[in-house]
């Protein structure tokens, strides 16, 4: 029981990201409003970002910027174990900005749909398509 609990707590970042993915996926599937679906998509993106950044973490280590003064730039050997993994940060840095850009395109599409059908509710759009 004790080991199960410590094992559970040692991986708490995964529980958070699984929860966020589930919330986002539920919003994308169950909600009828297109803007709510877009918000769900953004929550899933956030969950993926959290997952990536957390797998690169090393407990108690520095951020991936080499400590340097004005004089001794890079004269001492840099140990990989002293800094957290920078690679997931790089991947997610671009993913965040790209997610904002895709959000803009998604909102533009939703706006077009609203102007065309006069609603953002999925079932009403479907009935209006069937009418015409």
């Amino acid at each position: 029981m004790e080991s199960l609990l410590t094992n559970f707590l040692a991986k708490y970042n995964y529980w958070v990201y699984i929860g966020l993915v589930m919330i986002g996926m539920y919003a994308m599937i169950a909600k009828r409003n297109l803007v709510k679906k877009i918000i769900g998509m953004n929550i899933v993106q956030t969950a993926v970002i959290l997952f990536y950044v957390s797998i690169g973490a090393k407990k108690g280590k520095a951020i991936p910027i080499i400590a340097h003064g004005h004089e001794n730039t890079g004269h001492h050997a840099v140990q990989a174990l002293d800094y957290i993994s920078p690679l997931p940060h790089v991947l997610m840095l671009t993913a965040i900005v790209v997610s904002v850009a895709t959000l803009g395109v998604a909102l533009a599409l939703a706006m077009k749909i609203y102007h065309h059908y006069g609603t953002l509710e999925e079932n009403e759009i479907a009935s209006r398509i069937n009418e015409s």
């Binding site: 599937i29 993994s85 790209v98």
Partner: protein, 276 residues
């Protein structure tokens, strides 16, 4: 429908839950993500590129090709939004409304009347009464220059502290969007027109790709900044550091312009009138 969605989501969550014990614990230095290429980056980024911020070094140098296409994705998102929403020949209103800024009186000018365009005392509005928020306007006017200065610092200091083109570009775009929200969209167009924003976003991508092509012309591989040493009059390692800065400026320009252009189109549904 809701129950079906709930069952699907719970099933997916259960599968993820089932697979999680195989993942490394939080903060584990032996996690597979930090074992393969990342030790090389941490140990060699300073001697390869003279950039202490490893994230910047990987972003613009080791994985520069990837970042180039990320910038292209952002650029195409801005262009896609423009093509989806922009309306060029909308029905122009027969009468135009202007507000006299000092008294708050709304003037209605009939078709063919003399328009007070370019006058500092009058401001074009779209509905009969638009609130004039002096506190919001003055506060944002005081804030915007400092936000822009900070954005430039974030871009320029990305080699030594958290920052770089993407972050600085977003902050700079946010400053212009703040101006557009606190005043109106027409005021923002006077500062940064739609055409200027689109040209800046294209120029940002061009700076990035052009730097890569320049390296190709100088006899290196695509985006191999060390070949810029001859032009910049520095050694090969510092040339990589400077190449990263050039590329980050391009990214910052593109991201700033795309953020502003997205806001321009989304806030006014492509009509580019008063906006929100």
């Amino acid at each position: 429908m809701r129950k079906l969605a709930l069952i699907t989501v719970l099933l997916m969550g259960g599968l993820l839950f089932y697979g999680t014990p195989d993942f490394p614990s939080w903060g584990d230095p032996q996690s597979p993500a930090s074992l393969h290429v990342s030790p090389y980056y941490i140990e060699h980024s300073v001697e390869d590129t003279a950039v202490p911020n490893i994230v910047t070094a990987i972003l613009a140098d080791y994985r520069g090709y990837d970042t180039m296409f990320e910038t292209a994705v952002i650029f195409s998102a801005g262009i896609a939004c423009l093509f989806l929403l922009r309306v060029y020949r909308h029905k122009s209103a027969r009468t135009r409304l202007y507000r006299h800024n000092l008294t708050g009186v709304t003037l209605r000018i009939a078709k063919g009347g003399k328009l007070p365009e370019g006058s500092a005392e009058f401001e074009r509005i779209d509905s009969h009464w638009v609130p004039y928020d002096m506190i919001i306007r003055v506060t944002s006017r005081l804030t915007v220059p400092f936000v822009q200065l900070f954005a430039l610092y974030v871009i320029a200091h990305g080699h030594h502290s958290p920052g770089g083109g993407f972050q600085g570009g977003v902050i700079f775009g946010a400053a212009i969007i703040l101006y557009a929200i606190s005043n109106d969209l027409r005021g923002a167009f006077r500062r940064l027109s739609e055409k200027a924003a689109l040209l800046a976003s294209a120029a940002g991508v061009l700076i990035y790709v052009g730097t890569g092509l320049l390296c190709l012309l100088l006899g290196g591989s695509f985006l191999d900044y060390s070949k810029l040493a001859g032009i910049l009059h520095v050694d090969a390692i510092m040339a990589r550091s400077h190449g990263i800065l050039i590329v980050e400026i391009g990214v910052g320009l593109a991201v700033m312009a795309v953020m502003v252009s997205l806001y321009y189109n989304l806030s006014s549904a492509g009509r580019h009138d008063e906006g929100l």
